[in-house]
């Protein structure tokens, strides 16, 4: 069942048909979302009422476009800020973890590694509530003890960032560690041999080598943060990131405004993903 093995024409045809069907299945919801962003109707559904840009640029009720809908714009901003923080934190900690597990041997390392993988098998909502519970109790404790009100421990952006970071860091670690694993340590030795000290060797040789993985991890972290819902839902305060804001809207019922936002999201994240692909192509 590889191209070099002869197969009956019928089998080939049905296999191809299956693949085509699969990709239609994959594309359908997205295409529909994108198309109905241009429906000149209050509802993202048939019948087709004609083409309009209003859901992007409209500024009069009832068709206020994305670019005039302040709460949505603000939510996008919030999401972006959260995502940037989560990505930076995750890539930083991921980098440190990758070095730790790749370069050092210490007692308990195996257990620690498994422990590090655990966030992947904890449901997001459980992560969310556990952090919510713990931070609230900490905050109440501080309040009772010293009348300190630590806003960072209350639902809000800090907790959202920490909550997302708590599992995105694992993914970043895996992405970076996978590449570090492939790194030929003699390259570092070669740098030492050519007169670099340890830090310089890491800076000039290892980090550039890891760069594609770090960019990749950053983009993955960014996307995961941007689209995270379960954990965020439990930790969000007054500044709702985009997914939460959209969810709230969707609960209220949908207008093509949501399609328009979605389409923009698709474009932006495709762009990001392309950046990642190019970053990884380079080597």
């Amino acid at each position: 069942m590889i191209p070099s093995i002869p197969r009956s024409r019928f089998l080939t045809a049905s296999y191809t048909a299956y693949i085509v069907l699969f990709f239609i299945f994959l594309a359908l919801p997205l295409v529909v979302v994108a198309v109905f962003a241009f429906n000149d109707s209050q509802f993202p559904s048939l019948p087709w009422e004609g083409f309009t840009w209003s859901w992007f640029f409209g500024d009069a009720r009832p068709m206020i476009g994305v670019f005039h809908e302040r709460p949505i714009l603000r939510a996008i901003g919030t999401s972006a800020i959260v995502a940037v923080f989560v990505s930076i934190l995750s890539v930083g900690v991921g980098l440190s973890n990758a070095f730790l597990f790749n370069r050092y041997r210490f007692p308990g390392q195996g257990i620690l590694y498994v422990f590090m993988l655990l966030p992947l098998v904890i449901p997001g909502i459980v992560l969310g509530i556990s952090i919510l519970v713990a931070s609230s109790r900490a905050a109440e404790g501080l309040w009772d003890m010293a009348q300190w009100d630590v806003a960072a421990l209350r639902p809000g952006l800090t907790l959202v960032i920490l909550g997302q970071f708590s599992f995105v860091a694992t993914i970043a670690t895996l992405v970076i560690a996978a590449r570090l694993q492939k790194f030929d340590q003699t390259l570092e030795e070669a740098a030492l041999n050519l007169g670099a000290n340890r830090l310089t060797a890491v800076r000039t040789v290892t980090l550039p080598y890891l760069m594609p993985a770090m960019i990749g991890a950053f983009v993955v972290a960014f996307l995961m943060s941007f689209e995270n819902f379960n954990t965020t839902l439990m930790l969000v305060g007054s500044d709702a990131p985009l997914t939460i804001a959209m969810f709230d809207r969707l609960k209220e019922g949908s207008t093509p405004l949501l399609n328009a936002v979605s389409l923009l999201l698709m474009l932006v994240s495709s762009g990001l993903a392309l950046i990642m692909i190019f970053a990884q192509r380079r080597d």
Partner: protein
């Protein structure tokens, strides 16, 4: 003149295993010194100690007469060409070659000049802007050497640098490496487990086994005058038999092999006495073939056998001769003239060699 590199009683232990066991040698300025030995004998360990990546358990390493034990690797006046070259894949060729110079803080334009010069020297001018993976194996090899040579090290270490190349390229690079050494006029210390590499290139070769040096000498020394059974077996192809010394006459002797063959050999000054277990080595090219026994009358070892196998390989063709009782197989080189090229499997041949060509060693010494 102080030697470029001198190792004194170098020892390295990893836990229980002694990877390098009291090794001493010195390498004169400008020479090509090889360490030849089977896999795992401790070659890389020596080299890493010289480069500074490993600390010796005991012993001293001196470069140009000064101990470098307390010098960190990035400060030692030695550079190393790694087995897989370890070129930096994220940099261009020029950046690779300039790396060490940048670490020294040399001004940019001077670096550029030096890099161009080095590229010129290795016969690859104008490739500075290419990426590492745009080069062929042989070109990479030369760049790796140039990257070290721009730093003008006192000693260049090379750890099996041809190991990763394919056969044809290796053959070519052997000759080329020797030429590069002449061009840069630096001391090369070369590690290999391939005897032909060591023989072709080196001024001096140290044969290493199990952490110890068995013999240091020129290629001819090792090939024609091996100091131990190990060297005799490891350097060059050879026939080898074990047996018992039955008779000693000065330097000459007679050995009965375990399968019953009676062979004459020479001890070349090594102490051996009748009754000792011994090993005897005879090189395939030391054995003559003839159409009739007459021609071989001046040899003290003579035999008539059948061709068990014909390994035609041009000038390096060989036959495997089975002795009449089928007890032993003897590899014999065919003359380069192609005279016996027409031999067939099963044909009868007469072979003979002089006892002086049979190198005898006491068994168990190896």
């Amino acid at each position: 003149m102080t030697p470029d590199l001198e190792c004194l009683n170098l020892v390295k232990r990893f836990g229980d295993t002694t990877a390098v066991d009291t090794v001493s040698f010195d390498v004169p300025r400008g020479s090509f010194f090889s360490i030849l030995g089977p896999s795992g004998c401790g070659k890389t360990t020596i080299m890493r100690m010289i480069a500074g990546f490993l600390e010796p358990t005991s012993g001293d390493i001196q470069i140009r007469g000064r101990s470098v034990l307390n010098t960190p690797p990035n400060k030692r006046p030695v550079n190393m060409v790694f087995q897989h070259l370890a070129l930096f894949p994220m940099m261009t060729i020029a950046e690779n070659i300039g790396y060490g110079l940048r670490r020294k803080g040399m001004p940019r334009d001077e670096i550029a000049r030096k890099v161009d010069e080095a590229l010129e020297r290795i016969g690859l001018p104008g490739i500075g802007n290419r990426k590492v993976d745009e080069l062929s194996g042989g070109q990479k090899q030369r760049v790796a050497i140039a990257r070290c040579m721009v730093l003008e090290p006192d000693v260049l270490l090379l750890d099996e640098p041809l190991g990763a190349l394919d056969l044809k390229l290796r053959e070519r690079m052997k000759v080329e490496l020797k030429a590069l050494q002449a061009a840069f006029d630096t001391t090369f210390i070369y590690i290999t487990h391939d005897q032909s590499e060591a023989l072709v290139m080196s001024d001096q070769i140290a044969v290493m086994n199990n952490g110890r040096f068995e013999q240091i000498g020129s290629g001819q020394d090792l090939y024609y005058r091996p100091a131990s059974a190990f060297v005799a077996g490891f350097v060059g192809d050879t026939n080898r038999w074990s047996g018992q010394v039955t008779r000693i006459e000065g330097d000459e002797m007679e050995i009965r092999t375990d399968s019953g063959l009676l062979l004459r050999g020479a001890s070349h000054g090594r102490p051996l006495s009748a009754g000792d277990s011994a090993q005897i080595f005879v090189r395939p090219e030391a054995i003559r073939i003839a159409h009739d026994t007459e021609e071989l009358s001046h040899f003290d070892n003579r035999m008539t056998g059948r061709v068990a196998s014909l390994l035609f390989n041009g000038a390096a063709s060989r036959i495997i001769v089975q002795d009449p009782d089928g007890r032993e197989e003897i590899e014999v080189n065919l003359p380069q003239s192609g005279e016996f090229a027409g031999l067939k499997r099963g044909a009868e041949v007469h072979i003979g060699w002089s006892g002086a060509q049979g190198n005898c060693f006491a068994a168990g010494v190896r």
